[in-house]
Point group: C3
Chain length 392, copies 3
Amino acid sequence: MDSAYAIDTLFTLFSITLIILMVPGFAMLEAGLVRTKNVSSVLTVNVMIYAVASMAFILVGFHLAFGDFQSTTMSQWAFFMFQMAFVGKAINIMSGGVGERARLLPLTLFTVIMGALIYPTVVNISWGSDWLKDTVFDLNMVDLAGSTVIHSTGGWTLLAAILIIGARKGRYSGNQIRVIPASNIPLVVLGAMLLWIGWFGFNGGSVGSIATKEAADSVALTIFNTNTAGLAGAIVAGALIYLRYKLFDITMILNGALGGLVAVTAAPHLYTMLDAIAVGGIGGALVVFAVPLFDRFRIDDPVGALSVHLINGIWGTLAVGLFASDSANGVTLLGQLKGVGVVAVFVFSISFAIIFLINKVFPFRASDEDQVQGLDVSECGLEAYPEFKRAI
Amino acid sequence: MDSAYAIDTLFTLFSITLIILMVPGFAMLEAGLVRTKNVSSVLTVNVMIYAVASMAFILVGFHLAFGDFQSTTMSQWAFFMFQMAFVGKAINIMSGGVGERARLLPLTLFTVIMGALIYPTVVNISWGSDWLKDTVFDLNMVDLAGSTVIHSTGGWTLLAAILIIGARKGRYSGNQIRVIPASNIPLVVLGAMLLWIGWFGFNGGSVGSIATKEAADSVALTIFNTNTAGLAGAIVAGALIYLRYKLFDITMILNGALGGLVAVTAAPHLYTMLDAIAVGGIGGALVVFAVPLFDRFRIDDPVGALSVHLINGIWGTLAVGLFASDSANGVTLLGQLKGVGVVAVFVFSISFAIIFLINKVFPFRASDEDQVQGLDVSECGLEAYPEFKRAI
Amino acid sequence: MDSAYAIDTLFTLFSITLIILMVPGFAMLEAGLVRTKNVSSVLTVNVMIYAVASMAFILVGFHLAFGDFQSTTMSQWAFFMFQMAFVGKAINIMSGGVGERARLLPLTLFTVIMGALIYPTVVNISWGSDWLKDTVFDLNMVDLAGSTVIHSTGGWTLLAAILIIGARKGRYSGNQIRVIPASNIPLVVLGAMLLWIGWFGFNGGSVGSIATKEAADSVALTIFNTNTAGLAGAIVAGALIYLRYKLFDITMILNGALGGLVAVTAAPHLYTMLDAIAVGGIGGALVVFAVPLFDRFRIDDPVGALSVHLINGIWGTLAVGLFASDSANGVTLLGQLKGVGVVAVFVFSISFAIIFLINKVFPFRASDEDQVQGLDVSECGLEAYPEFKRAI
């Protein structure tokens, strides 16, 4: 008994550590993908989100999500911190996609509301004490580690934000789409790999226990399938790009891997190895097709967050209905679709309303001059690489 | 029994791994904060310290600190390595603050003495077999993971070193203080976040066991409070800087987080969540006020190590007396103050004497020409970024 | 029972995480060591290897190596993934050494064959179900975590590849050896330290269990000795270079550390602390002497992989016969030498044949023009640092 409590506490602390490693993961990925003149700004947003969203969640959000829930199988503090470690991720998804033009002060205000209220509400109806239970909004979707709760939540918020904030200056003019290359590829790779490894804690930890033989098998299968979906996403994205362009595009390969990881996240504990390959591989393909599609609609997303997190958050949640539906676990495609839809409507509308209101008082969009000069100077007062002479 | 031994060994190995992740953490933080011409030198110092201090400690220092102590609750090798993982940190604190002008050979000699003798003596009287017990120097301060033993020890050594070595050439002239910007902000963020995460192992591992329900709760609370103090330090530092300058200064936000982490380190197992917020938040504020103060006194510390580690090492140790003092645990503000004072006098005077002596034979300070050219060329024979054209 | 199963599953998942952290480790190390114009290409190779080799191994290689083996002491999925985490490393060793001139498509094809067939065969005869048992090729060498199985396997493959692919354009002309400096030293340090820490999972996890007192002691000793050998390798390499050049060469210090880590890998569970210092220190010295030696023979290896992995893989395997030979464990120098020799002949000849054949259809070597321009443009279509103006 004591031993199971100790093992599960240690397991959860281990998982927490991996998830928090995603904070530098996201930060490095985004810092590598944007232009050098916006790198400090993007990094500051990432650190701010971790600090502010986590604090908002431990002071307010946790209670909203879980009510009086007490963990009895592991230390309550480990459970509390594990839940806290999730909250920033949904906001990171949003902040990455509005990079290079969104200002820090309104982002900080929105982070408080997202961490204290919006995200905890989604958790409440999906994983938590569920105050909408027994209504028409009763959700019984399977979403182990948040294909919907984290990833499409972040994605819908991002979509709302982009509609209000608009594209980066100079990105679209007439029929032209200006390609803006990533400024630091080693940081992109480092960041993506830290996210990949962090995902083991995210999904593995979400199983909730490792202290019995059955639980240990479930955790190990979960981490195995999580990784396998990432492998498949990378391979499929890389192969599609190579077949089309005869080039190996590392940013697309990594986004394919991340797409596969997002997709498998809803049910890595229920899939076979081949299921995981299929779910992750399709996830990688979706990224390759979605990235140019968003550009066609003038939806400017410098890090590909909508393709990775929104599209694959939806795909991953529906995939449970296709691959792991059976009468024993009660999973149905319709139930999954309902979960996707309820979260979509709730998150998109509330996020849109709040971003719209904040935007009236503290405009999110940096001025054209500030965008041209770079947000590092106007927002942070320091450049990311002041000693390196710029070629462009 | 066997199971508790296995769990605690695994827990300690996990903690060790996190602490050693602080080696690249410190290295990246410092490499990002100094100018490009000194980056290789700073990195070499960090790797040298890990190698040399650890070797000095396992060959000599451990026995000095702990005598014949044998761990019976976990593998002796895990206990040995856990203690070893700490030693470099105190020296890292010192080496960072004398960056951009201290030479490697005398630093290496000092590292041997610090790792073999000075740091182990501090450990001995604080955590170890305590050969000064029952004298007037008997310390009974509470200092779980080293606000004093590690952080202010490193800080006092640094202060002694700066007094002997002096400021970087060109930093102060007349009444002018020349601002020298950090050269690589992504590395600063990466390094600070690795330190933050490494701290979970530092403080969590210092609880010493996770194998019972009570111990597991203590470890989880420790890690929770550690993180919370970091959050609070970041938020307070960021808010103060924003209120003053209307800018988000990421280096100050991160130093605020690190200040909060240093401050909470003395007793994260004894605080409530609100205590941790207060202790860490004050820690963040202290950093913001201390950084310009040291400059006013012409104490040149390129990475802010005195503000983060010395000031908050002292604050954190005293805070235990303010927030966690009660008759049951015997903690008193006076007892904490005595601990701070004894370590201060011992470490400052012995460090000053040894650095002074080494300096007579192998001068620490690089020549003005070498400083202008950068220490990478004169000390390491290689530049950090030879292909990037310099703007300044 | 359940508790031991849970502990060993958690321990193995922890080890897996550390090993996969070596993927960004290798990627950053190599990205830092090559010229900026080849950085994206090198990073893409590293990610490709992780994705493709792992997939080849889980679909084909594992069964070839282990037959129907079922783990009963931990989750089968954890065992499966632990073995999978190894496979990329042997190929990473090869790909690093042919960096800056090897093309991605043939490397990918070779990765499939190495991950599905060559490496699993080596595992089979060394650690696996051993279909050559009771023949003259019966191997009973001790090689806990792969000084031979991983490191010299990768090294022999690399040697075969270099002989076929040749040196980088412009590296050797007449009697001149052109020194090509590393382009990003912080990445080199970050990568090497992630490898170092990842090694704890590699070697510690290879003990196979931590769930009893005896096993816990063995794991902790293994990790302690692994680290100690790295310390010794770094110190010896640094001292030798300093004595010769009066400079601290960080790339050589880190290669010395890695050499020590490779050398100790065959038997960290059998050594005393002083053994580990000797084995690792000699490993560091061997790197210092081997690097110029390979250059003298016009064997162009931009990252020093032959010196680190091949030379020390051999040394480390033989060292078991020198330091840990006794009648109880049946280790003999001759038995170790036989293992080294059988793997050498098998891996070198099969690798040479397959690389030779692939090379006929898809030439490995990039054209001179592509090498001058950099492989990033011709292979990946994107530069690693497009905004930084190049000095050279």
